[in-house]
């Protein structure tokens, strides 16, 4: 038996055979075969809803498979709960951190473990071991710090330490880079490679193609609950992987003509001067943001979430009070305008939280499509809704924007994320806005729908619409933007031309390091 540096036995091979899992109305996993070996980083790639997380949750004992078998080193095993999986040497890093923010690092690690002092906690001992492991795997973190005080990158280290502390020989990482800055991703990948060299088996779940190509040895692609391909990563291209994920060829880079040179007397679509607003906790969330966007231009806003992007979008859509500064749309002062006045001035918005701020979950598709325009002709007269006009126009919109819905009357919450986003896009673009404030347009949306949404945004750009594109997805920003601004702690660190913006440069700026 080969031992890992943590003193635990290696898992030479994990094999999941014919795993099938049904949820009411959905076949989440359909006869899935998957395997990973010691020393290997095996990427599991697929769209949201392809069944990756469901597969991993069965490995970790959170769900029980309806059919199929899990074999560890050749022997069939059943995991009825996470503690069974933990005992077998399986660790899992969940997409949303499973940390208790108000507890210390050591308490989070010790949670659920037997103590050397019987019923009493032995946090000193736990802390010492955390430091040893941290040393070995370059996962430095203060054991007595409370988790809420840590950066996201540090919290992730705690998650990995938790698994290593429990002797995990196999680690499943569910979208581990979703919340990291590019620099943190680099550091994180070093840790993963180190672990693989030591003989850990790693499963890397992602939908970020370049990361999969960068880190993994083998890749398994899932689509609609089935495995569609398993092959070595070497030699794969992003285009090939994207095609396998979606089942048809996908464009990852778009051709777009340059923004025409400004006319002498051209008025910018959006001008923001020295904008200040307060955040939810009363502190200044924006501290002097100035920017301007011309007709036919897309300005991207990059940044780690929580640096004022949400507040910027809310201030520009009339949902948050501006404490200082000016906002002009097409030359008109709209600093303190209501959302309604902004819409009337030709502005549209795609909100960050589509289920919360974008649609009314329980409303039907058509009700959501007329959410803003229901108060006037042709959709209503004297307070009565004109059902015929609504049905006619909504049917056209649903068709135009290829929103997949069983009917116009279907409750919106039953649609997939991508289709809800297309619905919002249809509503917001149908009135031919001159300015679009667009936040995280493809977050949680599958590649196929993302590509569609991007094409529609570029089409509007051609038409002359100005777009403020706030996104945490650097690929998206690089593919769409004409210029990219980086936000850090409520200020714009810099505004780069697309041609000058490299991930490395953006990453530094996102971390608050001035170029």
């Amino acid at each position: 038996m080969t031992l890992l540096p943590t003193g635990r036995a290696r898992i030479d091979e994990l094999r999941m055979v014919g795993i099938t899992k049904r949820f009411p109305g959905v076949l989440a996993n359909d006869g899935v075969d998957f395997d990973v070996r010691a020393g290997e980083i095996h990427a599991l790639l697929g769209e949201n809803g392809a069944g990756k997380s469901t597969l991993m949750r069965q490995l970790y004992g959170l769900y029980k498979p309806d059919a199929g078998e899990i074999r560890l080193n050749g022997a069939a095993r059943r995991f009825n709960s996470p503690s069974d999986a933990i005992h077998a040497g399986i660790g899992m890093i969940h997409q949303h951190f499973m940390l208790v923010p108000a507890l210390t690092v050591a308490e989070n690690v010790a949670l659920g473990l037997a103590s050397s002092r019987g019923p009493l906690l032995d946090l000193d001992r736990v802390s010492k071991r955390i430091e040893e492991l941290g040393e070995r795997y370059h996962l430095k973190v203060q054991p007595d710090a409370q988790v809420w005080q840590l950066s996201v990158g540090e919290q992730q280290r705690v998650e990995i330490l938790k698994a290593l502390y429990r002797g995990a020989a196999l680690l499943a990482l569910d979208e581990p880079t979703a919340v990291l800055t590019p620099q943190e991703v680099g550091e994180f990948f070093k840790v993963l490679r180190r672990m693989a060299e030591d003989g850990h088996a790693l499963i890397f779940i992602s939908h970020k193609l370049h990361e999969v190509i960068d880190i993994s040895h083998r890749v398994t692609v899932m689509r609609d609950g089935k495995v569609v391909a398993t092959h070595p990563t070497a030699g794969s291209t992003r285009e090939r992987l994207a095609g396998e994920m979606v089942g048809r060829p996908i464009l990852l880079e778009y051709d777009k003509p340059p923004v025409p040179a400004a006319a002498a007397n051209e008025v910018p679509r959006l001008e923001v001067e020295d904008l200040h607003v307060r955040g939810d906790r009363g502190r200044d969330a924006l501290r002097g943001v100035s920017l301007s966007i011309r007709s036919g231009e897309i300005l991207g806003i990059a940044g780690v979430s929580g640096n004022g992007q949400r507040e910027l979008a809310e201030a520009l859509t009339g949902l948050r009070r501006v404490t200082r500064g000016r906002v002009r749309v097409n030359g008109r002062d709209l600093t303190h305008a209501t959302p309604q006045q902004r819409i009337a001035a030709g502005q549209s918005a795609i909100p960050e939280e589509r289920m919360k701020d974008g649609v009314v979950r329980d409303f039907s598709v058509s009700e959501n499509l007329i959410l803003q325009d229901h108060g006037h002709a042709p959709y209503s007269r004297a307070g009565f809704l004109n059902t015929r006009a609504i049905t006619r126009d909504c049917a056209a919109l649903v068709k135009d924007y290829s929103v997949k819905t069983p009917a116009l009357e279907t409750p919106t919450k039953n649609l997939s994320g991508g289709n809800i986003q297309k619905l919002i896009l249809a509503r917001e673009l149908a009135r031919k806005p001159t300015l679009l404030i667009c936040a995280q347009p493809t977050r949680g949306v599958d590649i196929g729908a993302s590509e569609y949404i991007h094409q529609r945004l570029l089409e509007q750009r051609q038409r002359g619409m100005a777009t403020l594109l706030i996104s945490e997805d650097l690929d998206e920003l690089m593919a769409l933007s004409d210029r990219i601004a980086v936000m850090y702690e409520g200020r714009l660190m810099a505004v780069l031309d697309r041609a000058d913006a490299t991930p490395a440069k953006l990453g530094l700026l996102m971390a608050g390091v001035a170029a």
Partner: protein, 309 residues
Amino acid sequence: MNELFTVPVLLGILYSGVRLATPYLYAALGEMFAQRSGVVNLGVDGIMLMGAFAAFFVVSNTGNLLLGVLAAMLVGLLMGLIMSFVSVNLQAEQGISGIGLYLFGLGLSSLLFKKLSVSTRAIEGFPALPIPVLSDLPEIGDVFFKHNILVYIAFALVPVAAFVLNHTTLGLKVRAAGMKPEAADSLGVSVARVRYLCVTFGSMMAGLAGASLSIGLINLFQENMTSGLGFIAVALVYFGGWTPLGVMIGALLFSMVNALQLWVQVKAIPIPSDLAVMLPYILTIAALVLGRRARQPAALSKPFSRGEN
């Protein structure tokens, strides 16, 4: 007014305050555990009534005080299991089911009291147990060290509760279950078991709180004799910022004001008695408004499920 602020009267208020804090302490410490694990049990008052009745019934029939205490805790255990089942297994809205449990306890204790023709005379409750040496201290001895055993136990539970919560593996599980149950679950901690344990323990403490009234303080049972005391205990958990020490300070503050209010009435001080009776409740509201909500367990009153159908 001057009559109120004499040394003997103030000592008397202190003495009663310590004594009257007992039921609040038991009930609130128990409720604190339930809430730290993520469950609000609003049925405390109903459990107290049932506990008070059970203890009084057993003692008036057998004369055995210990048996009375055990009966009250057993009743608490059963009602705690009901609350746990409803809130953990059935994932019901905890505020509503707690009020249901309260009404159940209120109704059943009154019904049993009438139907079982229980004595309406006072029983011989727990006697005062002066602590040697300490009770001889001038003034302080009388105030703190001449109480019955239930009073001492209640105050002794405060450091015990703090220790269990902060220095044991069980306490860590309780805190995690109340703040982020999915994290605890992902590490193999059974959130359901932890919550069952805490809610049931809390309900046993509520039963004991009832007993401390009916066979320790008043030595009588009357319909609805708690008159909302259990709800105050729930409020004290908020007031105390979910810590045993905070809960104790709240319980003492509250019972002192209560004792003061009684003295005001006894001494016929010219303050409208209604106003005096209101005083503790006004204090409760003020305390809750000023309370430290930031310390509230993040998953308080949220049922936990893994999401598997």
